[in-house]
Each structure stands twice: as C-alpha cells, then as structure tokens.
C-alpha cells in the first residue's frame, strides 16, 4: 500500500499540539536501529478531561526505505515499538490563535495539517481555514472522505484539491501543478494576514512558499515543513 494510518496506543501520552511529530525507532534483532519522524495526524485534545492514550500517524510507503515498508506492510496490531515525543514547536497551530489559516499540503504532507483541521473542530474554534491539497491523482488522495465530510460539517473549512497528473472524470481544473492562480483563488489575500502552513516534499514547499511571498504574504507568517520522504 502507498500510505497507511497507524493508531498507536501510548500509555501516559502527555498530549500534543497540532503539527507536532514523534520519532519512531525500530530495532532489529541484531541491535541495528533506524529512526524516522512522523507527524501526528490526530487532534490535540482540548482539555485533560478528553485525555486519550491513542495517537495517529500517517506513514507513506517508500519502496526502497528501511522503516516505512515495515510500518506499512509488516507491522501488525499488537506490535510494540519505541517512540519519542511529542516534539517540535515551529510547525504548530493552537486554537487560541485568532488569524485565518491557509494550509497547503503536498501528498502525505497532509498529516500535520489534518491534525490542525481536526483540532480546530475539536476545540470549537471558528477561525476560518482553507486547505489546498495537491496530489498526483485520485488514488493518492488521503483522507478524501473525511475531508468531504468536514467541508460539510465543520463550518468555516474550505478544501481545494489540486490534481497534478490525473483528475477524476469531469473535474473542472485540468491536471497540473499548483500555480499562483490556484493560490489566489483558493487561498487568502495577503491583506487578511493569514498564517500559512506549507507541508510536503521539498520542491512543493519551496514553490508554494515562493508563490506566497510573491503574492505579498509576510515571510514570517509562512511556516514550512518538508515532509520527507525519508524512507
């Protein structure tokens, strides 16, 4: 499979902020270890009263990788492995923030942005969110059903899907990479001073960040995370 969601049961999970990640460490029988970072896709809980011990990560399978194929194809319910976290304070969104938010995801870079979308709903935030989500084709769309449901149920959430190689039948926009016009149409005007979170492969992140700056957005309000793939 190309990507897999893993739900981890973590006793004594201290809670996290949307956008944070964990480090997952696998150890082979001979002692060799390999470690990777995975963004948490699950919502940050609004209060300790909602404390739960499960967290969710999204793992994109990298065919020649050493960690992701194991997590995607071999790991089974009941397996145990080491994690460290939550960590990271840069690419995070907290419901106390008042400004509008633009989320731009490339491929599996959707994971931490999904945590923000879920946290927004969970916390009852009314801050307007716009997600622009770039995927290769309909088969690589992750969280498609949930996003469609949330567009209907989570007031103030807009979602625009950009297909870069192949669109579903009858799709209005032809397949192609994200452009300045797409950002102008589906994003926020710079005058509204949104915070922009851009997550995806390096090339996607550089392109979108450059387009946002060119459109007049404050570079300091653009937060980036290059989301592997690191195998």
């Amino acid at each position: 499979m190309a990507a897999r969601t893993l739900v981890l049961d973590v006793p004594d999970w201290p809670g996290h902020v949307a956008g944070q990640h964990i480090d997952v460490r696998l150890t082979a029988p001979d002692g060799y270890t390999a470690q990777r970072s995975y963004s948490l896709a699950s919502a940050a809980r609004a209060s300790a009263a909602y404390a739960v011990s499960t967290v969710e990560i999204l793992v994109q399978r990298i065919p020649r990788g050493e960690v992701s194929p194991w997590l995607c194809d071999v790991a089974m319910v009941g397996d145990q492995f080491e994690i460290r976290g939550p960590v990271g304070g840069y690419f995070v969104w907290e419901p106390s923030r008042p400004e509008p938010v633009l989320l731009a995801a490339g491929g599996s870079g959707i994971a931490p942005l999904m945590a923000m979308i879920r946290t927004r709903k969970e916390a009852g935030s009314r801050v307007p969110f716009r997600l622009i989500y770039s995927v290769r084709d309909p088969d690589t769309l992750i969280f498609g059903e949930e996003l469609a449901r949330r567009v209907r149920d989570d007031h103030g959430l807009d979602v625009t899907i950009i297909y870069t190689r192949q669109t579903p039948p009858g799709w209005r926009r032809p397949a192609g990479r994200l452009t300045a016009e797409d950002l102008a149409e589906a994003g926020w005007p710079a005058a509204l001073a949104p915070t922009c979170y851009v997550c995806g492969p390096t090339g996607f992140v550089e392109t979108v960040a450059d387009l946002l700056v060119a459109a007049g957005h404050d570079p300091a309000a653009i937060r980036t995370e290059r989301f592997g793939p690191t195998g």
Partner: protein, 101 residues
C-alpha cells in the same frame, strides 16, 4: 517523488535536540558564522544519513550544527553558529533581580 529525500528541514531534529536541551531548539533563531544569515533551526537543511546529524544554513549551506549520539553520550558541535536566540517564558521580577535581604 518517491526517491529518498537528500535532506529534510530542521523540524526533524526536534526530538534529537530535546534530549539535550530543556527547551525546544527548533524555534531558536541562530546566526550563521559564515554568511551572517539568521534563521530558525527549523529552517535549516538537515542531513541525517551520516553517522550523526548535520544541519546546514539554508542560505549558504555551511554547517551550523552537528550532533552525534552514541548509546551513552552525545557530541554537539555548534561552531557554525555565532549565537542562538532561544524563546523563553517571561521571568518574574524576583528571578531577574533577586531580592537581597
């Protein structure tokens, strides 16, 4: 797109540096000794295919930070940074200027 990324960004070393520091280092702002650019540690280009972690300046690609972790110790080389500015919670008045009886 499915090739292994050559580098990731500094967000990736939040866990490794958190082992050494009491605060999140990825939101610290550092100045590159070589080119003078100031950037957040989260914005650095991180190569971790080596025996350790190497973080490079997003402006000039000079090495900012190296971190090698062995089972029982770690080596941290910060010579590529002339300083790190670390956000902290506000001090109380008594912490800034201890009251002497």
């Amino acid at each position: 797109m499915t090739d292994i990324a050559e580098w990731v960004d500094g967000n990736d070393i939040a866990g490794a540096t958190r082992e050494l520091f009491a605060v999140d280092l990825t939101v610290a702002r550092g100045r590159c000794v070589t080119c003078g650019r100031e950037s957040m540690v989260a914005e650095a280009h991180v190569y971790h295919r080596a025996p350790g972690i190497v973080a490079r300046c997003p402006g000039c690609d000079s090495v900012l930070l190296r971190l090698v972790r062995a089972p029982d110790r770690a080596w941290l080389d910060l010579r590529g940074l002339s300083y790190l500015e670390v956000p902290m919670s506000a001090l109380t008045a008594s912490e800034v200027m201890p009251v002497v009886a």
